[in-house]
């Protein structure tokens, strides 16, 4: 069992709950954040190995938070998990250093597989 730390930044409580359950069941430790500010704070204190990031955050756009996360001392691996399916968002996110871009709704195993591969490679 791995014991990697994953930070979930999403304003939707249902998504957070569900990801928490699923990720924990797969042996990850999970930190939740509902806003960008909270997310940045948790990132600095908990040093997660992977961030699952929503783009539509209440206080700041997810893409901006992505840039900030990538500028930290130990830049995080970031998976973008969002309803925005327009290609320009995906391109922008990849350009800003996102490791993967998954649109909602999604299959859980798809997300888990991506996370596992990224963590193994990283």
């Amino acid at each position: 069992m791995t014991n990697e730390n994953i930070l979930v930044v999403d304003d939707n409580p249902a998504i957070r709950t569900f990801l928490n359950v699923v990720l924990k069941a797969n042996g990850y430790r999970v930190v939740e954040a509902a806003t960008a500010a909270e997310g940045l704070k948790s990132f600095r204190s908990k040093h997660p190995d992977l961030v699952i990031l929503d783009l539509g955050l209440p206080d700041q756009d997810g893409l901006e938070l992505l840039s900030e996360l990538r500028m930290q001392k130990n830049p995080a691996l970031v998976i973008i998990l969002t309803v925005r399916s327009e290609p320009e968002y995906m391109e922008s996110a990849i350009a800003k250093g996102a490791a993967a871009y998954i649109t909602k709704p999604f299959r859980t195993n798809e997300l888990l597989k991506t996370a596992e591969q990224l963590l193994k490679a990283g």
Partner: protein, 684 residues
């Protein structure tokens, strides 16, 4: 090299383009004059004009002659002439004025052998010759071509002249002279008794007075008739020998001659001034109506309104039935048939109307096309083409009124321009609305897809985890996932229900089940039920003094109320107060119940206060943090409106927090028990 001023490059000399003009009258061969002028203009490559000078003699013309003039002018216009119609005491004066205002180099006038008699006072051609320093006058002989059938035309003219003699005016004139005779006889006898002399001159003054009055009252011909009849009567009754037509004294013949000349001149002056008063009055009226029309044209911005306002005003101005037929009448195959049925157009009228539309030329009365129609049709042409046809039912007195038809043409132009302008404005507005709608549609779509996909993400995610990770998930985890999926499915359901409610409310498909209730009691009930949801806020309910009832659909009202309170709770910090208060607002149709929900949230910018009630509007991205649908306030608005009320938002007195107020009604007072507002605290 010396440059002349006009040769300096960049300073073009100003050259007024000169025009050639023809002056027509009622002569049946006026068409020939027009063609001559046109040919000369084409040859010289200059613009050309046709002028008609309306002199007092115009009123002596027969209806047919007046209509002929109108037709000739309209034909000239169709042939490309600029057509002018001026009013002047004499033809020569009218032409001179016209030339002064326009750069006319050549004038063509019709002539006959009479014009070749030297020093003919009545010849326009000769009269114009003295202006040879201003323009050249060309004679166009209209006489020799008319040769054959001239006597027949003359006969017809006499016949028609005879037909339109107003016998009544001659009878009245004769009666007036008889009266003068009676008075004259009395004066004659009295003078003889007093002085012993026969005073013929007093009597002749009485006759002259009667003749002049006749001229003023009935026009030139009855005036002249009175003059000559007076002379005969004076001779017969008063000159020696009395009661005989020959004279003893040669001095009497001279006096009688002078009497006739004086009467004739007075008659002419009288007749002219009588007409010119009528003329200037008519002109003044038309200027006034044009002014009024312009005001209407500017005031109306909606094409349909303008159309009906125009028709109504034209009816008044032209004092007859008028219609404006727009393009759709002609493009729709059933259009013309419908008109024929509803307005009782004859076949002639319809074919004239069609002709006017298809050829962009006036038709009906006053033109060469379908002049048997009882209407005059004027095309309404703008820079972008013909947009309709103005139809004017011609009354007997306007059929031969030249200035009336010119006036109709001016009105048609003005109306066309106004309609075109309004149409353009409407089209621009339509394009703008269309663009807005398109923008709204795409933002709605993305908003809806966001709102549908978010719960679906949890549902699909949870269910797919349950399916594929059956073994790795603990019992507890499975339960959590199932619950999440279920909750989100329910949220999705309520979202869809909201959209449906919204749509049904908007389309009016919801039948209100209204009952009379005391709204504060309803609110208290609802607050009790919401207690759990509102656990993080302090809710204060200020009730209305007295017993006030309002008729409402309780279920729909709950939708409105809970949405407003939920909204307040969502956007204000936890632990803050939400105040629900009510009051009565007196409106024209009775007292309305007004209730307010005040929160301590951030408030809403003034610019957003209307927008916020639109569907799927969320003011900021952070709004998505609260599990809203962007429909809540739109539903509130729809419910309020379904109850004959409205809803608005303001900021509270301290400028902090929002006050949402909804007004419903009209309501009624049950009793006049005045109670101070009570404060009930529902605290979670």
């Amino acid at each position: 090299m010396q440059l002349q001023r006009s040769e300096i490059p960049g300073t073009p000399t100003k050259v007024m383009p000169s025009i050639v003009a023809g002056c027509i009258n009622e002569h049946p061969m006026s068409g020939l004059l027009i063609r001559t002028v046109r040919n000369r203009a084409t040859e010289w490559q200059v613009p050309w004009a046709i002028i008609y000078v309306e002199t007092p003699e115009h009123y002596e013309l027969s209806s047919e002659q007046k209509e002929d003039i109108i037709r000739t002018l309209s034909r000239a216009e169709q042939m490309g002439a600029q057509v002018y119609h001026t009013v002047s005491p004499s033809v020569i004066k009218g032409i001179q004025e016209f030339v002064e205002k326009n750069a006319v180099s050549d004038i063509f006038v019709g002539t006959s052998t009479k014009d070749m008699i030297p020093f003919n006072y009545f010849s326009v051609f000769q009269g114009l010759k003295k202006y040879s320093n201003l323009f050249t006058t060309h004679p166009v002989n209209l006489e020799w071509r008319s040769g054959v059938g001239d006597w027949r035309r003359l006969l017809e003219k006499i016949k028609s002249d005879y037909a339109r003699i107003k016998w009544r005016s001659y009878i009245y004139s004769t009666a007036a002279l008889l009266l003068a005779t009676l008075l004259g006889e009395a004066a004659y006898q009295t003078a003889f008794t007093v002085t012993g002399h026969h005073m013929v001159y007093n009597v002749s003054l009485l006759f002259m007075l009667a003749s002049i009055m006749n001229a003023f009252r009935y026009g030139l011909m009855p005036g002249l008739f009175s003059g000559f009849l007076s002379a005969i009567m004076i001779n017969f009754f008063y000159l020696q020998p009395r009661f005989e037509l020959h004279m003893r004294n040669s001095q009497d013949l001279v006096n009688l001659g002078l009497f006739i000349v004086a009467t004739v001149m007075a008659s002419r002056i009288g007749a002219n001034s009588y007409r010119s008063i009528g003329l200037s009055k008519g002109r003044e009226e038309r200027i006034q109506t044009l002014y009024r029309l312009t005001k209407i044209l500017v005031a109306n911005r909606d094409p349909k309104e303008l159309h009906s306002a125009l028709v109504c005003e034209l009816d008044n101005i032209l004092e007859t039935e008028t219609y404006i037929f727009l393009a759709e009448v002609f493009t729709d195959t059933a259009g013309l048939a419908q008109i024929q049925a509803s307005i009782q157009f004859s076949e002639d009228d319809v074919s004239a109307l069609k002709y006017c539309w298809e050829n962009r030329e006036p038709s009906g009365i006053g033109t060469f096309r379908s002049s048997s129609s009882s209407y005059h049709f004027e095309p309404m042409v703008t820079s972008s083409g013909i947009i309709g046809v103005l139809s004017v039912k011609m009354q007997p007195h306007t059929r031969d009124d030249l200035s009336y038809i010119r006036f109709v043409s001016v009105l048609a132009d003005q109306s066309a321009q106004a309609l075109e302008r309004v149409k353009l404005i409407a089209e621009m507005e339509e394009a703008r609305v269309q663009q807005e709608r398109e923008k709204l549609r795409s933002s709605l779509l993305s908003s809806v897809s966001h709102d549908l996909k978010t719960p679906l993400a949890s549902i699909i995610g949870s269910l797919s985890a349950l399916r594929h990770m059956e073994k790795t998930l603990s019992q507890e985890a499975r339960a959590t996932l199932l619950e999440t999926a279920l909750d989100e499915a329910e949220r999705l359901n309520s979202f869809i229900t909201n959209i449906l409610n919204m749509t049904r409310l908007e389309s009016g498909a919801v039948k209100l089940r209204k009952t009379w209730v005391e709204p504060d009691m309803l609110i208290a009930d609802m607050l009790k039920r919401m207690q759990q949801r509102m656990a993080n806020h302090e809710i204060i309910h200020l009730t209305l003094p007295g017993h006030f009832q309002v008729e409402l659909d309780a279920a729909l009202f709950e939708l409105l109320f809970s949405n407003l309170v939920d909204n307040a709770a969502k956007y204000s910090p936890s632990g803050s107060k939400i105040i629900v208060s009510s009051g009565v607002e007196n409106r024209a149709n009775g007292p309305y119940w007004k209730f307010m929900v005040t929160d301590e949230g951030p408030g809403i910018d003034e610019k957003d206060r209307d927008r916020i009630f639109n569907k799927f509007t969320r003011l900021e991205k952070k709004d998505s943090q609260v599990a809203g649908t962007g429909l809540g306030l739109a539903i509130c608005k729809a419910v309020a409106q379904a109850h004959g009320g409205d809803i608005s938002v303001n900021t509270d007195e301290n400028g902090k927090g929002s006050v949402f107020s909804a007004t419903l009604g009209p309501g009624r007072y049950m009793e006049n028990i005045m109670e101070p507002p009570t404060k009930k605290v529902a605290k979670g």
